[in-house]
Amino acid sequence: MVEILGRRGQVDQRFRIERFPATVGRAYTNDLILDDRHICAEHARLELSEEGAVILRDLDSVNGIHRMDGGERVRIIEVTRGAEVRMGRTRLRFLPPDKPVAATVPNRESHPIWVWATSHWTAVLAWLAVFAGASAWTTYRSSYAELEADTLLTQLSYVLLAMLGWAGGWALFGRLLIHRTRFTGHWAVVCVYGLASLFLEGAFGYVRFLFAPVVAVTRVEFVGEGLLLAGLLYLHLHLATALRLRARTLVFVAAVVLSVAFSELNRRQTAKWMQTLPYWSRLQPVPQVWLPVESSEAFFTAARTLGSELDALAEEELADRAIQEGPL
């Protein structure tokens, strides 16, 4: 039994050698044809020795036969009880035919709900309903102005249309690339992204209420948004392409990094000209007993440190200006 191994050690092909001698090489006259430019037309031969052992003999090839463990070049190698060699750029493993195989793994069926949610057309409507409902509800619970039903519907329609376009685009892309449209799957991904974004927004409404640092909280939010965006891309790529796990993970990481970088740059630009006080004005209807408070005494006392903070700022600013203006 000869196995041709791929780059990551997985088995690409298997051959059973029925009779000996068997020739190995690139030419079509061989018993075992290997498609590798670094292998000669007639590269090696599998033979039975007088004692009954199976040996592999080099036929004066250009690149020879190399042992996998050690890498030394050999003219003759015994492969009766199994061996791994390299010929040209191809790895070969020799196994006795009675090698036991691992036990059978029972087939775990994907959960029927999962299958339905990502494949059945009725799931499209279900996802639409869930997302539209969540979106409408979050809009409603934060509006203090009179909400016209048709304004709400119009806004929602625009969002849904955009999502449809996005999902459709990916489905088309998948069809072109791997001949699988999977629209329901893409649509489900977009809807999940939408729901997750709504959830993130809601969660940060509470974060901004409880935590003071403006820049830090903003950056954490950027990371959250970046992760969601990256997740979206990852899942779309999973459905629409044959990209392997490593490639998809790379895209995921790149998406997070780019998203955060872009958001941060944007923040810095706008911060320059926006004159606002650096505090979160978000308030939440949390009952008094649950509020994590400090005493007003402690608050004012601690605020005294602002003095030295501002002095340091002023020093810096004055130093910068002195450099800019130069001696008068």
Binding site: L277, S281, L283, V293, E294, S295, L306
Partner: protein, 423 residues
């Protein structure tokens, strides 16, 4: 010759004063002819380019060796003495320079010395003055040439800690620093500001006298470092202003079930307004206190000293999360743009926490920024929004400009402490 001339004027003035009672009042053109001579135009120019940075009016006093004007006319000379200087605005090739002797920031006055004594100096009046008294204002409106404006004396402003006379007459920019005189040519006030519509303001003459007394003292000499002097005056001002505020008993106003501090001192003007928003889904009430005091520090910064703003919100219709979305929006109104340009200030830095004060819970933020050129001087904004009640909210803002951090803390603590809630 000059001295004889001014002596004659003084004598003439005195003679007229004794005979004015019962006699016909002199006409405006007569007043102009007699007294306008002592008014000068003042220019502030940049050393290198010779370009005019500002113009205003001024007038000679005493023996002609001193010129009175507003601080804000020559402010650049104080801030950048190496770049700017003041001079008389005549059309000659080499207009004579004016040397800065002293200034009074909070009253917006400055005393300059000409190279040679000027003619026709003015006499300072004494008061008391009656409302309705006829006054004549002299100066150079918009660089149009020396002019006279008639008006009426209408007493001192009520809502001003630093005294200002209300003059009913049309003053214009350029007339700043010029004298406003009675029909005997005695100075009643110095032109300082206008609000349009014949509402103008004068610095009372007794403040001019006080500053002149300083410069007349035998051991007086102009400050070497005008910037340091400015810093000192700013510090004095904020200290006396804060003392005044802290010594006034706390007054309160009721908004819903909340009571909050109002009327920090009699000179403050407080008013309230109610708004019903968005088809009556909620009610909003506003209460604001401010004073008319404004200290001109530079072209970009007029210190408004202290401002209070309370907002009360109530709704029976909105759900808690809807109400708090509204409440958050209202709490967001921020006051980063207090008192003008930010170029000479650091950024704001804030400390924000959830705090308890008595039986109330607040989200409070205490923000400050420092004057770059004046150590120890800050703008402070203190804001707090009460929490824990689903259908009503109260948020307050206290804004201070040009104060020390110690005083700001005292005022903020006092402010917060005065907020209570009735069950």
């Amino acid at each position: 010759m000059q001295h004889l001339g001014s002596f004659l004027v003084v004598v003439l003035g005195a003679l007229c004063a004794t005979h004015s009672y019962g006699q016909e009042r002199p006409g405006t053109s007569e007043i102009f002819d007699r007294f306008a001579g002592g008014v000068v135009q003042i220019e502030v120019v940049e050393g290198d380019s010779g370009g005019k940075a500002g113009i205003g009016s001024g007038f000679a006093v005493g023996e002609g060796g001193e010129v009175v004007t507003n601080f804000h006319v020559i402010a650049e000379v104080v801030h950048h003495p190496d770049r700017y200087h003041a001079r008389l605005g005549d059309d000659s090739q080499a207009p004579p320079r004016l040397r800065l002797l002293a200034f009074d920031l909070v009253h917006d006055l400055a005393i300059l010395a000409p190279e040679t004594p000027l003619g026709q100096p003015f006499v300072l009046g004494n008061g008391p003055y009656r409302k309705g008294m006829r006054l004549y204002s002299l100066g150079n409106p918009f660089d149009l040439g020396l002019s006279i404006v008639e008006g009426t004396y209408n007493g001192l402003l009520e809502h001003s800690h630093y005294p200002r006379i209300h003059f009913t007459g049309s003053l214009n920019p350029g007339m700043s620093g010029g004298p406003t005189i009675d029909d005997q040519g005695r100075v009643v006030g110095v032109n300082v500001a206008t609000a349009g519509n014949q509402v103008s303001f004068l610095v009372p003459v007794d403040r001019v006298r006080a500053l002149l007394d300083e410069t007349a003292a035998p051991d007086f000499s102009p400050s070497e470092d005008m910037s340091a002097e400015l810093h000192r005056q700013l510090d004095d001002h904020q200290r006396s202003y804060a003392d005044m505020l802290l010594s006034n008993p706390i007054q309160t106003v009721t908004m819903g079930r909340y009571t909050a501090p109002t009327q920090p001192a009699p000179i403050f003007n407080c008013w309230g307004d109610s708004t019903h928003g968005e088809e009556d889904r909620y009610q909003a009430f506003l209460h604001v206190c401010s004073s008319d005091d404004g200290i001109f520090l530079s072209r970009d910064r007029v210190l408004s000293i202290l401002l209070i703003r309370h907002q009360y919100l109530h709704s029976d219709e909105l759900s808690p999360s809807q109400f708090y979305a509204l409440y958050s929006q209202k709490f967001q109104d921020n006051y980063g743009r207090i008192a003008g340009n930010d170029a000479k200030m650091t950024e704001f830095r804030c400390r924000t926490r959830l705090i308890e004060a008595g039986s109330l819970r607040f989200k409070a933020t205490y923000c400050a920024r420092r004057y770059l050129e004046f150590e120890g001087l800050y703008d402070v904004v203190f804001k707090a929004a009460s929490l824990g009640r689903p259908g009503s909210g109260f948020d307050t803002a206290l804004m201070l400009s040009g104060v020390s951090l110690d005083n700001a803390e005292l005022l903020a603590r006092r402010h917060l402490g005065a907020i209570t809630w009735q069950e």
